[in-house]
């Protein structure tokens, strides 16, 4: 086994490198992805090694980036585009929703759309407005897109490999405040399907379901709860579209309780979809309503308030207590 300790950022960089090496049709595109290596250095060194024809600094126009990526995909390329921050994906939203997501179906399957849209997302880095948002629900609602987010270095590497190989467009949300978190990467492991959830920690009293940056918070919550004698299972969903409802159902059938945790606002967020469907699937198993912990129905606040805004250990444990109180 070839495991290495590596940050999520580095794992993504390695995965992109591997993709560029393996398939000459793979391209990396975006603002500042070239010499700078992206503002988070995820594409560091790639232009140097693969040239300006494969790692492309684009004009500052997100609709143009995704729109030309669609054209390149139609020509047989597999573009991996970077959106610099979550809040800047919206100029590209039209191209993503009306074109990228629907082209394969529109063409009755005659064309494929192997485009990956990388988006560093979420808060916790003390940034100014538009740099801390979690817009995943706005993509997951749209058929034709896959929406995923890794929570650790191994997944970052492998999920990116799978995203690049996918013949469907993948919105790849990168948990930016976890970029520098290190984990074991096994570059020889054979990964499971992209949309499958993983049991990050086993438990019996309650299930915490999360993805991306919130998995770590849930793991910490589970550890803290353990000390109080509560056994929490942590599910790393990995994919927000599709959602591995079978895995959630299996866990809830065991624990009888579910708390969904995400940074995005609760209102119309992914927790709603999970709560609705799991309640339908597990109506007689649930000892308590599915509870949701997430952002508020307010713009992402200024950085000095983000610690209060973001779901942290205490808010997760508070929901756990409320659930267990039923």
């Amino acid at each position: 086994m070839a495991t290495q300790k590596m940050s999520i950022a580095k794992a993504l960089n390695e995965s992109l490198r591997k993709a560029l090496e393996t398939d000459p049709k793979v391209l990396v595109m975006g603002e500042d992805v070239g010499k700078l290596g992206g503002v988070f250095r995820i594409t560091d060194g790639l232009q140097k090694d693969f040239g300006e024809g494969r790692v492309i600094d684009t004009p500052l126009a997100e609709s143009g980036i995704v729109g030309t990526a669609i054209g390149l995909a139609l020509r047989g390329y597999r573009p991996v585009v970077e959106i610099q921050f979550d809040g800047f994906v919206f100029p590209a939203y039209d191209q993503i929703v009306t074109q990228l997501a629907k082209m394969h179906a529109r063409a009755l399957g005659k064309v494929k759309m192997p485009v990956v849209v990388r988006i560093p997302y979420g808060g916790g880095i003390g940034a100014v407005e538009h740099h801390s948002e979690s817009p995943e629900a706005l993509f997951a609602h749209v058929a034709g897109l896959k929406v995923v987010s890794p929570s650790n270095a191994n997944d970052a590497y492998w999920m990116m490999q799978q995203a690049v190989q996918s013949d469907d467009p993948v919105i790849f949300f990168e948990p930016k405040r976890r970029y520098w978190d290190k984990g074991e990467l096994d570059t020889e492991a054979i990964p499971g399907p992209l949309h499958k959830a993983a049991v990050a920690r086993e438990g019996s009293d309650l299930t915490l379901a999360a993805y991306g940056p919130m998995v770590k918070v849930c793991m910490e919550a589970a550890a803290a709860a353990q000390e109080e004698g509560k056994s929490l299972e942590v599910l790393d969903l990995r994919s927000m579209s599709p959602i591995d409802f079978d895995a959630v159902q299996a866990s809830v059938e065991k624990t009888g309780r579910l708390v969904v945790v995400h940074e995005a606002p609760v209102f119309y967020g992914s927790g709603a979809e999970i709560a609705a469907r799991i309640t339908e699937r597990c109506f007689y198993h649930l000892e308590a309503p599915v509870l949701r912990v997430g952002g508020y129905h307010a713009p992402y606040p200024p950085a000095r308030l983000e610690d209060e805004y973001l779901p942290g250990l205490d808010r997760v444990l508070d929901a756990v207590d409320r659930s267990l109180a039923y």
Partner: protein
């Protein structure tokens, strides 16, 4: 053109205008023209074209058959066979001229009105009708004829064309790409971004704008105060206005722009100055917003008529040719009519098809539920 109260502002005083910040001229520029509305062949210093009688008969045939197909589709809509039709009436020269300038390996990104270009590409016209009948969102394989699906979201295809052209360049191929769009579309940010990307990457793409004077009810003045072909210059590539009702000029100008692209000199904007003779679509009622005199005036510039006049004057076709073409038109009309009527409704389960190429468990689950639900009626029906 201007909001009401603008008129109430101070009158212009032009004296203070400086030479460095001149308002660009908005007087109507010369069109590139090779065949006048009266059917006279004229020359242009920059664009010449040498066509045989066969070529000319071919272009004429293309335009006539395209118009016939279009008329048939309009009729089919009236008969309820199609939900909608977007007629190209009046734009045959722009579409056939540009379409016939293309090589097989070139790639086309149309709007929803490029029936004449589709014809040139060899797309079976009945295929175009599926989306207007409501049986699909685009019935053909884009790669069979290098003719992309119709795009409805205004302007978005110009970026696809640019990306495709970037790919062509990457491949070291000398194909070119052509993106069609309208005068209205010129206002969309996507079109400007396509101009920027194509210029920066020097992509081999021709932007072919059919300025048919109207975007539904809005005249071109609502989109721009200077001629549209001038838009290109500020992005760093040439623009040219061609008589869009002159099939020869459209062919010559498009060919030249395509060759420029092949030579690695980057994009060109072609503005084909033409006219939408009919309604925007069969849902539209132009009497609400435009005077019929305008249409009548443009009838005198009809693209088919002028080529016919020229051919007759030059004796390039005899009565037998025209009769045969008449018959061919009728046959085409009949074939299209029958094909449309025979077009089956899709299987309801097709709702779920092709949502994903790789498959998707949610879609599978919903499909299964839907199938079971549908089947429950069949059972009840027993």
């Amino acid at each position: 053109m201007t909001v009401e109260s603008t008129a109430a502002r101070k009158p212009r005083r032009s004296s203070k205008r400086t030479s460095a910040a001149k308002t660009p001229q908005s007087s109507e520029p010369q069109l590139v023209q090779l065949l006048t509305p009266e059917g006279e062949r004229v020359t242009h210093p920059d664009y010449e074209i040498d066509l045989s009688a066969d070529d000319l008969r071919g272009l004429y045939r293309d335009m006539v058959l395209t118009r016939r197909f279009d008329a048939e589709a309009t009729a089919l809509q009236r008969q309820g066979e199609l939900g909608l039709w977007a007629s190209l009436l009046g734009q045959e020269a722009a579409q056939i001229g540009s379409g016939r300038a293309l090589r097989d390996d070139d790639y086309v990104f149309p709007t929803y009105r490029e029936h004449g270009v589709a014809w040139c590409r060899g797309v079976d016209p009945t295929n175009l009708l599926g989306m207007f009948r409501g049986v699909n969102h685009g019935g053909w394989d884009p790669n069979t004829n290098n003719f992309h699906l119709y795009t409805i979201v205004i302007g978005s295809q110009t970026l696809h064309a640019t990306g495709y052209a970037m790919g062509v360049a990457k491949d070291g191929a000398d194909s070119a790409v052509i993106a069609y769009f309208g005068d209205g579309a010129s206002s969309q940010g996507d079109v400007a971004e396509a101009f920027t990307f194509s210029a920066v990457y020097n992509a081999p793409v021709v932007f072919f704008c059919q300025n048919n004077q109207w975007a539904i009810s809005e005249p071109t003045e609502k989109q721009t105060r200077v001629p549209l072909y001038q838009r290109a210059q500020g992005f760093g590539f040439p623009g040219v206005r061609v008589d869009g009702n002159d099939v020869l000029a459209c062919l010559a100008v498009t060919r030249s722009a395509l060759e420029r692209a092949r030579r690695g000199e980057g994009p060109t904007l072609v503005e084909a100055f033409t006219y939408r003779m009919g309604a925007h679509t069969t849902s539209d009622d132009p009497t609400k917003y435009r005077a019929d005199e305008e249409r009548v005036a443009w009838e005198a510039k009809d693209p088919i008529l002028r080529l016919r006049t020229y051919m007759e004057k030059q004796d390039l076709a005899d009565a037998a040719y025209f009769t045969a073409l008449e018959e061919e038109s009728e046959t085409l009309g009949k074939r299209v009519r029958e094909a449309v009527r025979a077009m089956p409704d899709p299987d309801p389960l097709a709702i779920f098809d092709h949502t994903y190429a790789d498959g998707n468990p949610l879609v599978d689950e919903e499909r299964a539920q839907f199938a079971a639900y549908q089947a429950s009626f069949a059972e009840e029906g027993n």
